[in-house]
């Protein structure tokens, strides 16, 4: 007889492992991209693409190995996250491969660099590295609470990562935004990794300070204002965000970090005043920066009326092309391989890959993708709800919150809902840093959910509970 006394959403006791569910879902997550690959090949060349078998087997192997290790090392983890990530990564590969075949992009690349090589093989390599990192995290991070020990190291690491692109000689200014660093032949976007590291720092810091931040405050006009000394870290983060915005021209990253911090503060302290303050500070910062940074102004202008300013700004030209891509997709899209999203130009497979989804899979496809991302986010938050330790709760919140903000900022940007920022769609867009970092993010979420759902060890048999022996005289 089991005693159910859990108050969390997910039952702590006798939770089924759900590994078989995951396996079935993974089957779909591999099959769908393989069919998409076939679809592109048939649409472009009218024949089954040559790499079909290799691609299918490769994706299947990656998913299979991940699944087996999950069975071994994270038996009780959430069953949805791995299939979702696999599906998105697989479809991303198909989309990049599809853009590789575009004669327009090939011609453009020939003109620019005198050569052309597809991005899909590299992306496949990055995905493999990403899955490897995913596995390493699962195998070696036995308990996420270990990360708690590295709170302040994380802070230093995050700041270093964020400010690295500003180091002369290391940072690379690519089309206006200084968010890359170049190490040898590789260019890395440290912001993607900083996203995870900084979540670790916030969780550790807030776990310790949450009571001070929540309780030691003065009431002012109906809001609880924190004490001056507690304001220190939030001001620091705000300043760092602004610095990124001003010196790296990176609207997305600064928004992401500040938003993530506000969300985590709110969850940690349960005080609405933090949200109000956070919003005020971000609006204040954004307005201040926008009033003197030309790069930001151009983006805002391109957002407000993309069709009127394309002659003066490259941002506008991209924006119009992206909007027309979405528009011509219509409800059902043109079909994979049959759109003209390559008109967007050089960033078609990175920043603007979502436009290809919009044009070739249409409204239906975009909504499906948004729901897939939404599912990842909500599964992450569910993990946070289920987590039993505050550090795990905060970490899961931060990671899923950051993921949600990133989706919103990128998709909202390319669809013209908010000004465009130079960020990438997780798993979908071409870029090593992004794929690798997001696989690590999923791994940490899985680790937290595994700990949350793992049944409590059965209590040691208590002598009192044993049947009373009747000693016959």
């Amino acid at each position: 007889m089991s005693v159910v006394t859990n108050t969390t959403t997910i039952g702590a006791i006798d939770a089924p492992s759900r590994r078989n569910t995951e396996l079935v879902l993974l089957g779909f997550a591999v099959a769908i991209p393989v069919f998409a690959y076939l679809n592109v090949g048939l649409a472009l060349d009218g024949e089954v693409p040559a790499g079909m078998l290799g691609y299918g087997v490769g994706l299947g192997l990656l998913a299979g190995i991940a699944h087996l290790l999950m069975r071994r090392f994270a038996k009780y983890a959430d069953p949805l996250l791995l299939p979702l990530a696999t599906l998105l990564n697989g479809l991303g590969l198909v989309l990049i491969w599809r853009l590789d075949q575009s004669p327009r992009l090939i011609a453009d690349s020939m003109r620019r660099y005198g050569s052309h090589s597809g991005d899909a093989p590299q992306q496949l390599l990055y995905s493999a590295i990403g899955v490897a990192l995913f596995l390493l995290v699962l195998v070696f991070l036995k308990d996420h609470r270990v990360l708690q020990r590295y709170t302040y190291i994380s802070m230093v690491a995050a700041i270093v990562l964020l400010l690295l692109p500003l180091v002369p000689g290391l940072g690379a200014d690519v089309f206006g935004a200084k968010i890359w660093i170049k190490v040898g032949p590789f260019s890395i976007q440290p912001g993607e990794f900083a996203k995870i590291v900084i979540a670790v720092f916030f969780s550790g810091y807030l776990m310790v300070k949450r009571d001070a931040l929540a309780l030691a405050s003065r009431r002012f006009m109906g809001l609880y204002l924190p004490r001056g000394r507690d304001l220190g870290p939030i001001i620091t983060i705000w300043v760092v965000s602004l610095l990124i915005l001003v010196f790296e021209n990176d609207l997305g990253t600064s928004l992401l970090f500040f938003g993530m911090f506000v969300i985590m503060l709110y969850v940690a302290t349960e005080r609405t005043s933090w949200i109000v303050m956070g919003l005020l500070m971000s609006v204040g910062g954004a307005v201040t920066v926008a009033s003197f940074a030309g790069h930001v102004q151009a983006r805002v202008q391109a957002w407000q009326d993309p069709f009127s300013c394309y002659e003066t700004s490259q941002a506008c030209d991209q924006m119009t092309q992206v909007l027309m891509s979405f528009g011509s997709g219509g409800t059902l899209g043109t079909g994979l391989g049959q759109g003209h999203s390559d008109l967007i130009g050089f960033a078609a497979n990175s920043d603007f890959i979502f436009a290809t989804v919009g044009e070739e899979l249409g409204l239906a496809g975009v909504m499906a993708f948004l729901l897939l991302y939404g599912l990842i986010v909500e599964r992450g938050i569910r993990t946070a709800l289920a987590a039993r330790d505050p550090f795990g709760k905060l970490l899961a919140t931060g990671l899923s919150g950051a993921f949600a903000l990133q989706i919103f900022v990128v998709a909202g940007g390319v669809m013209g809902l908010i000004p465009l920022t130079g960020m990438t769609m997780p798993f979908l867009a071409y870029g090593g840093s992004s794929v690798i970092a997001n696989w690590a993010l999923i791994a940490i979420l899985l680790r937290i959910s595994d700990t949350a759902r793992r049944p409590a060890p059965s209590p040691a048999p208590s002598p009192d509970a044993e049947m009373t022996q009747v000693v016959r005289p």
């Binding site: 090939i106 069709f307 119009t320 979405f326 409800t331």
Partner: protein, 486 residues
């Protein structure tokens, strides 16, 4: 911490919801608008993505497509004898859109027309590459050649119609342009386009359809028809009551006659030598409103004459005073017509008073040669009775036999015509336009009516210039049609 967490969950849900709503807005609500945006290259890409159908004259294509080996637009338009056919085909340029037939029947030529849906679906299964349909025109290659070569280096236009059906047989405009010079989107295409744009001779202008000229004396055939229809003249060989000099109504300015013997001349004589006074007086007697009615029956003041390429509206002023009407009756004042319009007037007379709607597309044909659409001859109006038409014919034939139009005569064929010299410009300083309208007639009715205008006549200001410059061109066009029938 679970309560704020649930709020965050809702917040994240709202973020996704906002994206979903925005997506519906962009891809569903604004889809059409974005698709039709002039900056959207997809229409052009689609236009040149497959082998474009052809525009056909006499069973032979006058257009073509070549593989341009270009990543953006796969095929490029070519033209056979581009300058000669430009007023018919228009152009289809990767950089500068398309016009005229190339634009109007774009969906047929690209094969994207809804009526070709079955063909497209079929070729999807048979694995054929997509092809466009063809546009079969009514034009006559020999007549077009005669018209274009007749105009030669002169500036002007020719329009020829089959009076019995309304089929357009020739449509020439000079100076012309070669649409293949800017069919692509490279630097040389831009150069050619800019040069054409800057050319003050306006080579891109389709003079046969889109330019209006004062018709001068050629308009007198219309005035004659109006006078006969309204009973102002009963016998064309009876003297009219015309003073010499004739004073315009409401004016003291005497009207000048170039010809001799116009005082009380018969209508036939007045036509033969183009007496201004007789026709001005007759126009005044018919009255403005009746003149307007007559002109509009012929197609004046109609901005929607679609061949299917829309012709500019010819003008006969509806509000002028008596003096203006008298001047308009001899093709001056505000009166202005396209060469096509004058060809229509001539055609209606040659067709015994029945005006057929002019058209230049005979059939639209699917890639598999099925006819998708066939244009049938259609009556546009009956501006005059058969008797009136035959009387005017008699006078026009007299012009060619004995009068100012001798240069148009063809041995063994009945030809009727009328010359015209339209003065224009401030105080008539500019060089006059030389006009000639005519038709040829055989036993089975008239196969061709033609209107010719030559802009830069350097001849004397005399009706002879119409007869001298324009009539030979009309003659060779008529001859080309007649020879083709033999």
């Amino acid at each position: 911490m679970n309560k704020p967490l649930r709020h965050i969950a809702i917040f994240c849900g709202l973020l996704v919801l906002a994206l979903l709503l925005r997506d519906n807005w962009v891809q569903f609500v604004r889809s059409d608008e974005l698709n039709k945006h002039p900056r959207n290259k997809r229409v052009t890409i689609e236009r040149y993505a497959s082998v474009r159908g052809d525009i056909i004259v006499d069973g032979k294509p006058i257009t073509g497509s070549v593989d341009s080996k270009d990543p953006l637009y796969k095929y490029k338009r070519t033209y056979v004898n581009g300058p000669m056919w430009a007023p018919v085909t228009g152009y289809a340029s990767q950089a500068y859109d398309a016009n005229q037939l190339e634009k109007l029947h774009d969906t047929i030529l690209t094969g994207n027309d809804d009526r070709l849906f079955f063909d497209r679906t079929l070729s999807m299964f048979t694995g054929d590459t997509k092809k466009g349909g063809n546009v079969v025109t009514t034009l006559n290659g020999a007549a077009q050649k005669a018209a274009f070569e007749g105009l030669g280096k002169k500036k002007g236009a020719v329009a020829a119609i089959d009076p019995q059906t309304g089929k357009i047989l020739a449509l020439a405009s000079t100076p012309s342009y070669d649409p293949s010079t800017f069919a692509g989107y490279q630097a040389e295409d831009e150069k050619a386009w800019v040069a054409l744009d800057k050319d003050k001779n306006k080579p891109k202008q389709n003079r046969a359809l889109r330019e209006i000229y004062p018709p001068g004396s050629t308009f007198k055939v219309l005035t004659a028809a109006a006078a006969l229809e309204n009973g102002k003249v009963k016998d064309i060989d009876a003297p009219t009551d015309t003073p010499e000099p004739y004073l315009l109504p409401l004016s003291t300015v005497p009207m000048k006659n170039h010809a001799q013997g116009c005082e009380n001349a018969t209508l036939n004589y007045a036509m033969q030598w183009s007496c201004n006074s007789v026709f001005a007086k007759l126009g005044d007697e018919v009255g403005r409103d009746k003149m307007v009615e007559m002109a509009e029956k012929f197609g004046f003041n109609n901005a929607e004459i679609d061949t299917p390429v829309r012709a500019a509206a010819s003008v006969y002023d509806k509000t002028m005073d008596r003096g203006g009407n008298a001047l308009s009756s001899i093709g001056q004042f505000n009166t202005a017509t396209t060469p096509l319009q004058m060809a229509m007037v001539t055609a209606a007379i040659a067709n015994d008073g029945k005006l057929m709607k002019p058209y230049m597309v005979d059939q639209l044909v699917a890639p598999n040669l099925d006819v998708i659409e066939r244009n049938e001859p259609e009556e546009m109006s009956r501006p005059m009775s058969q008797e009136t038409a035959q009387l005017v014919q008699k006078m026009m034939e007299n012009v060619v036999e004995n009068g100012t139009g001798k240069n148009a005569a063809i041995r063994g064929v009945t030809v009727g015509g009328k010359t015209g010299t339209a003065q224009h410009g401030e105080k008539n300083k500019a060089r006059p336009y030389a006009w000639f309208i005519s038709y040829a007639k055989t036993d089975s009715g008239s196969p061709v009516a033609v209107a010719v205008v030559v802009e830069d006549s350097d001849a004397t200001r005399d009706d002879i210039s119409g007869g001298g410059l324009a009539a030979p061109i009309a003659r060779s066009v008529m001859k080309a049609v007649l020879d083709g029938r033999g």
